[in-house]
Amino acid sequence: MKKIGRIWFGLLAPDIVRKMSVTQIVTADTYDEDGLPISSGLMDRKLGTIEPGQRCSTCGNRVGECPGHFGHIELSRPVVHVSFAKLIKKFLKSICRRCARLKLKPELIPVYKEKMDEAMEKTGQIDQDIADAVLKDAGKPSVCPFCEAEQYKVKYEKPTTFYEEKMEGSVRLTPTDIRDRLERIPESDSYLMGIDTRVSRPEWMILVVLPVPPVAVRPSITLESGVKSEDDLTHKLVDIIRINQRLRENIEAGAPQLIVEDLWELLQYHITTYFNNEVSGIPPARHRSGRALRTLAQRLKGKEGRFRSNLSGKRVDFSARTVISPDPNLSINEVGVPLEIAKILTVPERVTEWNIEDMRQLVLRGPKDHPGCNYIIRPDGKRIDLRFVKDRKTNADGLDAGHIIERHLRTGDIVLFNRQPSLHRMSIMAHEVKVMPYRTFRLSLCVCPPYNADFDGDEMNLHVPQGEEARAESRILMLVQEQILSPRYGGPIIGGIQDYISSAYLLTRKGTLFTKAETCQLLASAGFREDLPKPSITKPKPMWTGKQIFSMLLPKGLNLSLKASVCRKCDVCQKEECLYDSFVLIRDGELLAGVIDKKAFGAAQPNSVLHRIVKDYSNSEARRFLDSMCPLLVTLITNSGFSMGIDDVTLAPAAVRRIEDILKEAEENGLKLIQAFRAGELRRTPGLSLEETFENLMMELLSKARDGAGAVAGQELGLDKHAVIMTATGAKGNALNLAQMAACVGQQAVRGKRISRGYRRRTLPHFKSGDLTPQARGFVESSYSKGLDPVEFFFHAMGGREGLVDTAVRTSTSGYMQRRLINALQDIKVEYDETVRNSEGQIIQFRYGEDGVDPARSDHGKAVNLAAIIERVLSQKR
């Protein structure tokens, strides 16, 4: 396969521009009355064709094959290339105005040359630092060291004007003058000035001939009304040709100098804006509608520019996008693909003597029947589109080894699945296809965390790898089960979420018992096919505990202990004896004690059950565990029912009274604080002003009041309430959310302070000026269940809005940081000598991470799980 070894940049010489041109463009017109391209015009057929069916008159190819060909415009007078103007200034300053030699002291020349040669030998490239030093040194002398001519100061005026400041006044340097000087710079001098003489000459920075890009670069579009609309570049080229023509005519007619100069200036303007329409110092060229034209520089620049939009990221075929929805019955490795999509996306399959019969069947079924086929590619490269084939039988019979058919995507194929923003590598993972009815992609809920997906309208993308190599790599490296451990922290990123956790708690908490029928139903949903263990209760009828059922799905021999989310952080942990059953103990695959909740079963939980299974068994075992556990938990929670209502946050009257008392006391204390502040009795905290001290004390007081109210609610609401189960187990929400619903919403803040702005010295017009009471500064006494009064509601909206703005700002700033990090680090990889190097081969680390351990293979950052190994060895027989 051909490979591009390197790209060498250089300036285009006028001769090369002429040589690569297929025609000189002289007329500013594009099409004649019949709509045909005018010869020697900007749409000349020789420049390539963009109309389907037409042939290019240079290469004879049709639209797809013709690469397009350059033309050129001979400029009547030379013109400065804007982008080089600053460099031209530096050059003019450092060369003699008479002999055009570098004004470097003769004895310095060999010194610099030696340095530059050395750099050249080392890197094969000009050293910009040396060139800068040369230009700086050569810019100083006011008399040429060679011809002793007096030098004048060169003044540069943005964007393209140069003057020489003589005694008698400033004299304009025309591009012709400049080009004349640059032309005479000796090769050896320009080399020292930082020009690679193998590819560039200084005078080429002044244009005498302008390349005209092929029409494919600036296609005209025909609007629905039939009106042809030209590309911005064509517009600009028309302007250039027009002015160029007028300038030539005027020069030839011997028009007055002033007119010629004006036209020349205009030509300079058009060419400047043709290259870059955002140059400072001149107004941008505009379209008739007033929109600024998008010329060459604008086409390359920025996020929507050629580089970032078309070169660093490309549009691809064999991809699909649609809304996602959950399917708890899918494996984490699977993705549900709508039948309609499966009939459009294809996989190329080579016909061999072994599969020819199957392939014939696919061809026979054609593009409309599902496991069918859309195209046949013959060995000569010809494609047969089966949509337009009447009798597929002939094609099926004609099929032979060596043909390639593009068959429909079908169940079992491997595809890549992605959700934007792709912030980490788990944002694109490989899934196995499961073709399904309806029109959404379906995925297991356990893979929501790595994609950061939910189902409120999220869409995802799907790509079908087309090569054997790509499919193999997808399956081995990118399959979801291989991505369970996150390289960020060496723990699982996939795992149970939300109701799975509530359900796991319901299943494993003390007192959960199931009859034989219930047990069997649960285990059937998990796909459990073994014998039932002995029931833990035999009388009056056999019953199995939830812990037993959970244990049945654990791999044999699993050992693990951890503290659950519901743990109350007792001063002395009672371990297995914990009153709240929050010490999880698993021995030999048996859950002996503790409830399973977020810590044991949740996503992104290092040292959870799933983590131990991945590390001590395998990725496949972990997948099996999740795939059997999850449907079981869904069955359980569906049968038992799990919801939250007003009851969950309604407190008994006594508790409501206690909360009222707490808030009343806070209010009184607040008033006392205000009095103390007003009377100047407050002691200032060092480093803070009196106002800040007061505000801090007030905030502290109010947050204590809210916490107190929340604590009352917390005592009142027990684990019998589903809302509490959700917060305690870590399934969703936290104690604060509950407190705000049940007891008191608390202080609303803007920029971390109590709300203080709005009107002069007050927040709303119905407060007194200077009112510092909690009510006037955004304290919300009500709870969400009680409801907010209008003032509280208003403050709450203020605080809420800040949250929204914060999120929006955060995504953009962190996105930019991420982009910079990626750009700086993306080339770095581990080499075969164990060093970490960038693409230039420079060593960044001698050993990756000092110990050479891959975080994704580590055990939560540790190279080896010593305790597990020692325990294993010690438990073996001597």
């Binding site: 490979k3 070894g5 390197r6 790209i7 060498w8 940049f9 982008s83 490239q125 690679d196 590819v199 560039s200 870059n276 920025g302 580089f307 070169l311 660093s312 912030l423 590598r425 790599e473 490296l477 960020r488 060496g490 480093g687 803070l688 801090n696 920029r751 914060d806 955060r810 700033t813 962190s814 940081m817 991420q818 910079r820 990090l821 990626i822 750009n823 700086a824 680090l825 993306q826 080339d827 770095i828 990889k829 581990v830 960038n838 693409s839 420079q842 060593i843 960044i844 680390q845 990756y848 991470g849 110990d851 050479g852 351990v853 891959d854 580590s858 190279a863 080896v864 190994i869 060895v873």
Partner: protein, 397 residues
């Protein structure tokens, strides 16, 4: 039975043999685990064998895109961080930038971080002694003329600058009028005259000048206001904290060089959070360490779990040339050798123009470049060429 168990010496002997195969930290952990248990000789051998095997199994593979993974691992949690500036843990009076802004500051290697601070530990003599600590604080905290005077202003009647001293503040800071005059004299601001309440400074006239120009007075005024009477320049405030029976100082503003020179300071532990300052005073290796420490702290404070190896890689990349380079256009990204990579990052046109005149060559060794030209990138499975000679199909009979 007990005679069967290995002695600590035997364990040590076995561990010493693994010095070349296992990293020191792992050996240390292993030593701790082994010494706390009763093990037989065969078990010991088996454990070490298993550990070595597990260690080899956890090594990175050649070709692994550790850079991209590190960037993602630090960038991705950025979306979950706060934008706000919060208090320093424990010390309520000291504000320190945290969260995303601080993380950006670190990878930017900003020369002027928004909240430079130092944590100054004290030597054994001072650690417990509050009286001695207060003396040290006086030495460290900067006191400027402005801080101890009621006003510092130009007085045209006097034809110079007049300082109205604030006796109470002076007593507080243990500053005398003589000290101030002495310091001002060192600055050569002019003729100085004064008593305990007032100091007058008359700048000298230059040749040809009849009156002192206003511009010069303004300049001298600024000089006088900012004149450092005592303490270390830049250390605006010192906060004394006691934790676990040890007294240490937190400062607002930094002057690490000064602090490390101060007697009574434990200069083996004291640190500044200013990356460039650390590099200038303690060297580039220390700068690497502080980048790691600071980034880890920021992430940990936000409750985000990021493996230290990712942070190390970023820190190493920022410091491997011997100078601190920021992550971005003015540092690493701007110094990349690939034209296409630079052009695709920021300031596209400038890089292309530059490349043309310098005749730059892009050897297409990096990732972006190869994506741009549509070739396989030299990373991961793309970094190796694997050729296979398929067995010839058996001839049909």
């Amino acid at each position: 039975m007990s005679s069967q168990f290995v002695t600590p010496e035997e364990i040590e002997k076995k561990l010493q043999k693994q010095l070349k195969t296992l990293p020191p930290l792992l050996i240390e952990d292993l030593r701790g685990e082994l010494l706390s248990r009763k093990i037989t000789n065969t078990q010991l051998t088996r454990i070490i064998k298993e550990v070595v095997k597990a260690y080899h199994g956890s090594l990175v593979e050649p070709g692994e895109a550790v850079g991209a993974v590190a960037a993602q691992s630090i960038g991705e949690p950025g979306t979950q961080m706060t934008l706000k500036t919060f208090h320093y843990a424990g010390v309520t009076e000291l504000y320190v930038t945290l969260g995303l802004p601080r993380l950006i500051e670190i990878v930017d290697a900003r020369r002027n971080p928004s909240t430079p601070t130092m944590r100054v530990y004290l030597d054994e003599e001072h650690r417990q002694n509050e009286g001695k600590v207060m003396k040290l604080v006086q030495q460290i905290e900067q006191t400027k003329v402005e801080r101890v005077s009621q006003s510092v202003a130009i007085d045209l009647a006097e034809g110079g600058i007049v300082i109205e001293l604030h006796p109470e503040l002076m007593k507080d800071k243990k500053v005398t009028s003589e000290m101030i005059q002495e310091k001002l004299a060192e600055l050569k601001v002019g003729d100085i005259e004064g008593d305990d309440e007032r100091i007058v400074i008359i700048p000298g006239l230059r040749e040809g000048e009849e009156v002192i120009p206003m511009a010069k007075l303004q300049k001298v005024l600024k000089k006088v206001r900012d004149a450092l009477i005592k303490g270390l320049a830049g250390v605006k405030r010192v906060i004394v904290t006691k934790e676990k029976g040890e007294i240490f100082l937190d400062t607002e503003g930094t002057n690490l060089r000064g602090v490390l020179r101060t007697k009574g300071v434990d200069n083996t532990r004291s640190l500044s959070n200013h990356i460039h300052e650390i590099a200038e005073t303690l060297g580039i290796e220390a700068a690497r360490s502080i980048i790691i420490l600071e980034a880890e702290d920021v992430l940990a404070e936000q409750g985000l779990d990021v493996d230290i190896r990712h942070i190390m890689l970023v820190a190493d990349l920022m410091t491997n040339t011997g100078e601190i380079r920021q992550i971005g256009r003015h540092g690493i990204s701007g110094q990349q050798s690939s034209v296409l990579s630079r052009a695709a990052f920021e300031v596209t046109v400038k890089h292309l123009i530059h490349a043309s005149i310098r005749g730059e060559q892009d050897p297409l060794l990096g990732i972006t470049e190869n994506v741009i030209v549509g070739q396989q990138m030299p990373l991961g499975t793309g970094s190796i060429d694997l050729l296979m000679m398929p067995p010839k199909p058996p001839k049909e009979k």
